[in-house]
Chain length 207, copies 2
Amino acid sequence: MTSGAANAPRRGRPPVTSRAEILTAARRLIADEGWEKLTVRRLARVLGIGTTTIYLHVRDRDDLLIQLINDAAGRSPRPDLPDDPRERVIVVALALHDALGEMPWAADVLAVDGEACLGRPGEDALWYVDEILSSAEEAGCTPERSGDLFVTLWFLMVGELLVQAGSARRKAKTPALDSEQNNALLDRDVFEVGVRSLVQGTLDHTD
Amino acid sequence: MTSGAANAPRRGRPPVTSRAEILTAARRLIADEGWEKLTVRRLARVLGIGTTTIYLHVRDRDDLLIQLINDAAGRSPRPDLPDDPRERVIVVALALHDALGEMPWAADVLAVDGEACLGRPGEDALWYVDEILSSAEEAGCTPERSGDLFVTLWFLMVGELLVQAGSARRKAKTPALDSEQNNALLDRDVFEVGVRSLVQGTLDHTD
DNA sequence: ACCTGAACACCGTTCAAGT
DNA sequence: ACCTGAACACCGTTCAAGT
């Protein structure tokens, strides 16, 4: 068992780690020490492997972050979808926000490579995009207007996540400035208010 | 003239640079080589001074970026304001976007320290905030709703700027992928559509 | 009174060499 | 077949020393 494989005839040194182990360790590292501590070197140190071994499983640092986000989007549960298409747009937008909100640093990566995370077929997170677009059309949008709505919702979400990440970072530096968690809740509420206004303003539009 | 001052009796070595020179050099550096090349060390090298001299005029790197943004907001011309308060909200939001859009990397800083750039009295950019809030109230919003609208507009703008910065960076890496400038125009248009929908959805709301 | 080099504690990434 | 140390080319920031 230690050196012979039962099924596939493997040769040479066995791998010392795997993509899954790297992603898990990265999640731990972020949870334990904060997002800014996630560096390739630190991650390797935490895993007890050589720095350069990371590069056997990940193209570069950005690739690591993209895989992490995709992982989170796939892991996040799909919400129950209401029948009303208008409400469906809102529910899906909030679900996407929640899925990515656990990693507020995601905004940086999403901005750089939004398509890499959501736009490509075969990715875990694609259903969010499809559902928003098709629901908006079912609610009476032209395809073009649906696209505009999606992009605007996307901007709104990226902005909210970025600001959230910023205030979290600031709070980490200057502790005990205000209350603790209710700020995140407030942000979530303002986001929902914004999403609702935007959907209303888009769908009630007549020209 | 070279060593004696006419007015205030100065002593010791004359300053080798100034805050204004540093900001100008930083703008040049960004224009010439791109935002990611703006480092404290490079900036000093460009100015032909010691790296550490920068720190006599700027608290740290973030402070440099904040000063740069404030500078840009102050330098940007104020638009003509229409009488209709609803349209005024839109015009000011677009003006703020344009003022910051010349430095799309601003989003990162704005998220970290939005208050430092806009929220504090005495800053050049404060009028944007005041004008949006008071116009929204004049258009019939409660103060609370005006605040929500402003925050949502802020998210929308930060998100749009961040995505714009990301696609600009990506285009710099992979040149000649599509057309050149019309993408920015398209983004501007989508932003305006979003702003209009948001304002409409907020102001037409009745509850 | 003002400026600076050297140093500290880090980064991401590559590549020849080791097991 | 898989892993790695050393090296390269950088960062931001501090502080004792220089002019």
